[in-house]
């Protein structure tokens, strides 16, 4: 590894701008004469709309437009099911559902206008619990969807019945996860500006500026995708929550109707009750084992809570159902999933895309299995892990894999064997592992233009020797643009300080799918690497002409083109560009590997896969159930680290965010109404709660990744919940947490149950 830039620690490239307060977030964006947009939201979990009367609101001075079902077309949209409308039509289906929206001269007027809208509701019985929703005769969330089942599947692979019939031991467990928000610090908002030529500009913190046009804006507004120019504003956090952003639609529709710019900023409360929080799921597991600890087969049954609308939920359920089968050599599996509509906030994707929930359940189950078989939980895993070269029973092709190294590291660092031998006295250790995709081909079909999962990049060098990278992939604070700059700097021999990566903008940048599925480092990184290589070639060709030296006798270092044999013969990159006419560009396109899964969900969804193992040591107060995480130790396989500082930030952030989800977060719905409606009742971990984190990277040098890199964002969060639960199990001598979050009260109940 002879790289000068890649693999070393660098600050993210816009760090100075951010810490000095210069960054313009969506709330800071000023558009002249912008109106304030606001939504009227349903107060009921389930009600029929008899009448919406907006006349008084329309008459209020200062109100530009009021939109509702009365004056907008019936244009249902949705990524998997077209089950959602811009404004509720016959029914409202959750508390927070958009019924109407206004644009007015200021916030006070907009608020008053909302209070003047009269909606007559016929309140309907609420169906909030997914199991109740599945009962015959349950109220229907969508009148056309019988049984409230949004999606279901049943897959059998391998000799599953034999696996159970011939097993030496079988185990069964059930796990339940909760509704948790992405809890980014920046509430959601978008701005839109209608132009007299009928086109609309949209700004916002968005995970995919390109795709929001095609799955939401264009179809609902009856326009074509390129009628919209969508520009990303600097992110105040997203974590999956800003892929499906209805605020963009609200702003664009209001702006078109008012023929003026509109800013639609949501309050924190609106964000908590009306975005797309992490899906709650109920997982039943059965597994069959050989005496020596070899996994023979598993049966999984899932009931996933879809909430009122589907968004990406079918894909999330699929991820929950299949993901963990590929981490271990699994000879046979039977998987059933049902996604259930309820009158609760629509659930969605958050960092992990279902894998946090799936990993919590399966990795908790594994420790119960280890206990039952009398094996060490680390040894049980090491015996069954997948390896490089494997093709899993679902067809996943493992191109690189260092999970076993990661686990051995955790075992070693935590003094695992000695600590396991103690345990049971209020102190214990646990670990868990995960596998994650780096991109997912399926999304390309559901969300993108075709099945290629493409990314493209342009690298432009100007006459001052400065370089801009244009990529369609967005930075949500994860450091994507920094990774691109470091890769291009490495390729081009131009110092990182000369690079700029402007926010994604559909107006002039090449296409990219956006930030999800841990895809950007691999897919966007490869595209930018190819673009940088192209730009480097073009630079050398131009320099060859200017310096009258053949290109293959030149090299670029420290921003200068030099003759390899005669280093004093050199020319600054800027001068080369100047002489060549003022700009030199390179282009790169990269199409992801893997397949779109078939109807049976068979195939290789991603180019390659990342892995991690998290270990936790906890102290449990056996009388109060209070759990303190004393330390976390983890190993990650991101293929190759591009930016060490950024990678460390991902790991530390992932661990603390995952711990927070595991231990204290929750929107706590009660009959469809959320109780966590502010950050006073919705707790997220503070710096006081963050444990010391020791970690390292196990670089498997992926054959497809740029410099061997693959995704890291999601493997950094997936296993920590199970690691903590397994440590609690060990510390308490058998208290198994089957329902999240791990509150003191739950822990105490589990301790009492284990004692019985």
């Amino acid at each position: 590894m002879s790289e000068r830039v890649v693999g070393r620690p660098h600050p993210i490239i816009d760090a100075a701008e951010k810490v000095s307060g210069a960054t313009v977030f969506i709330d800071d964006l000023e558009l002249p004469d912008a109106l304030t947009g606001m939504a009227l939201r349903s107060p009921h979990p389930h009600a029929r709309i008899l009448r919406v009367d907006t006349s008084a609101a329309e008459r209020l001075p200062g109100v530009a437009v009021v939109l509702s079902k009365n004056n907008t077309p019936d244009a249902p949209f949705g990524i998997n099911h077209k089950d959602e409308a811009a404004f509720c039509r016959e029914k409202v289906r959750y508390v927070g559902d958009e019924v109407a929206a206004v644009a007015a001269v200021d916030e006070a007027t907009a608020r008053e206008a909302l209070s003047l809208i009269r909606v007559e509701y016929e309140v309907l019985p609420t169906v909030a619990d997914p199991f109740a929703a599945l009962e015959p005769g349950a109220p229907l969330v969508h009148d056309s969807v019988a049984g409230n089942v949004a999606n279901e599947f049943h897959i059998r692979r391998g000799a599953i019945d034999e696996a159970f019939d011939e097993a030496d031991a079988t185990f069964a467990d059930e796990f339940h996860t909760h509704l948790a928000h992405q809890a980014y610090i920046e509430p959601t908002g978008c701005a839109a500006q209608w132009h007299p030529d009928g086109k609309i500009s949209v700004w916002g913190c968005l995970q995919s500026v390109f795709l929001i046009r095609t799955f939401m804006l264009a179809p609902v507004m009856g326009m074509s995708a390129d009628d919209f120019r969508v520009t990303q504003t600097k992110p105040g956090g997203a974590f999956g929550g800003k892929l499906d952003v209805k605020a963009a639609l609200m702003a664009a529709m209001l702006s078109r109707a008012a023929e003026k710019p509109v800013k639609f900023m949501m309050s924190l409360e609106e964000d908590l009750i009306a975005m797309r929080p992490r899906m709650p799921v109920h997982i039943s597991l059965e597994s069959a084992w050989k005496r020596d600890g070899a996994l023979a087969g598993k049966r999984v049954r899932i009931v996933a809570e879809n909430g009122a609308y589907s968004s990406l939920s079918p894909a999330i359920m699929s991820s929950i159902a299949l993901r963990t089968d590929n981490l271990y050599k699994t000879p046979a599996a039977e998987i059933q999933g049902r996604l259930v509509y309820t009158n609760v906030i629509p659930s969605g994707q958050m960092r992990g895309f279902g894998n946090v929930q799936a990993t919590y359940a399966w990795e908790s189950h594994l420790d119960n299995v280890a206990d039952g078989l009398g094996l060490d939980p680390a040894d049980l895993r090491l015996k069954n892990y997948t390896e490089k070269g494997d093709v899993s029973l679902h067809g996943w092709k493992i191109a690189s894999c260092a999970v076993a190294d990661a686990t051995r590291y955790v075992v070693d660092k935590m003094d695992w064997k000695a600590r396991r031998a103690r345990g049971g006295k209020g102190r214990g250790v646990g670990l868990a592992s995960c596998i994650h995709v780096s991109g997912n081909k399926g999304f390309s079909v559901e969300l993108g233009p075709d099945d290629t999962d493409p990314s493209s990049g342009v690298v432009r060098v100007d006459e001052e020797g400065k370089v801009e990278i244009w990529s369609g992939e967005s930075d949500l604070g994860q450091g994507a643009t920094s990774v691109m700059a470091y890769i291009a700097s490495e390729v081009m021999g131009i110092p990182v300080e000369r690079f700029k990566v402007p926010p994604t903008d559909t107006g002039y940048m090449p296409f990219g799918m956006g930030a999800f599925a841990s895809r950007i480092t691999l897919i966007g990184g490869n595209a930018v690497k190819l673009a940088a290589e192209d730009a480097r070639r073009n630079l050398l060709d131009a320099a060859a002409e200017a310096m009258e030296i053949p290109a293959d006798e030149l090299e670029i270092a420290e921003g200068e083109v030099r003759a390899k044999a005669l280093p004093e013969r050199k020319m600054a990159v800027g001068e080369v560009v100047g002489r060549a006419g003022g700009v030199i560009e390179g282009e790169g396109k990269w199409l992801a590997g893997g397949d779109v899964l078939d109807k049976e969900k068979f195939g290789n969804p991603s180019t390659t896969y990342s892995f991690s193992t998290h270990g936790a040591e906890v102290e449990v107060d056996m009388e109060t159930g209070v759990v303190t995480v004393l330390q976390v130790c983890c190993g990650h396989d991101p293929g190759r680290v591009i930016n060490r500082l950024g990678a460390e930030g991902q790991v530390e952030g992932g661990v603390v965010q995952g711990m927070s989800y595991a231990m204290m977060e929750g929107l706590a719905p009660l009959e469809g109404r959320l109780r966590g409606r502010n950050f006073h009742d919705y707790l997220i971990a503070t710096s006081m709660d963050a444990p010391p984190i020791e970690h390292d990277f196990f670089e498997s040098m992926d054959p497809y990744g740029p410099y061997g890199a693959k995704g890291l964002a999601e493997v950094a969060i997936n296993p920590i919940t199970a690691a903590i639960c397994n440590a609690v199990y060990h510390a308490t001598g058998g208290a198994r947490i089957r329902t999240l979050p791990v509150t003191p009260e739950r822990v105490l109940e589990a301790i009492e149950e284990a004692g019985r």
């Binding site: 209020g426 107060d621 109060t624 204290m664 709660d689 509150t743």
Partner: protein
Amino acid sequence: MEFLRATSVDEALAAAGDGAAFVAGGTNLVPDVLFGRKKIARAVDISRLDELRFIEEADGKIRIGALATVTDLLDSGLIRDAASPLYESALEFAGPLVRNRASVAGNLMDASPAADLAPPLLAQDAVVELASAEGERTLPLSEFFLDYRKTAARPEELMTAVVIDPLGTADRCAYYKLQLRRAMAIAVVGVAVILRMEESVCAEAAIGMGAVAAVPYRARAAEAHLRGKEIGEAEIEAAAAAAADGARPIDDVRASAAYRRKMCGVLVRRLLKKALGMPQIAAV
């Protein structure tokens, strides 16, 4: 809403009543007004009345001015040495930003069942000083909290100080706040225990309870099992059971009533043992 910044206590008192509310740190009042939980006609800002911001020892008493902040409590050697449960409650209170603004009087006047300063102040037999245009009066804190967010202070009354007896070498005490994260969290249960020992006999017992009833209160029935006794396992068990029995907690987003009740017993038992230097089952 009218806004008035008082430059003297008299001015503040003259502006009181008729839907007016005093503003100290504003950490309760501002969000209450902002989110429509409270409607007030006039905000009387008392935050600049430096004469109400002090912590002093006089005539064998500790007087804490109404505007003393939670940070002031933490900065006071007097509080640390002679009111240690109060000091510990201040340590667990919110985070530094809120502690810098939050006043002692505001915490008591807000009368949240979970007000963190209430259990230790109750246990230390605090007396509050109230003033109005009509004159001044004092009231034991144990008679101050009447019902959920209802106090014995009249709307026009200003709390000027809180007075406690300093703890001495004969006092054994302990405090615990059970919370769902390590900072910025509302108590699930808060307990303060103070035992005045004469040789091996407990001359006085005081147990302040928070977040387990409509108001913070003294667990009198539990105290009765301790007062005048040589405290052993039996007394501690009886007191713990009485504390659990006397609690009137509710179910909310943080915990169930049943868990809170159980924790009253667990924490009272544990804090009594801790105060007396007896081995506890698990460290608090």
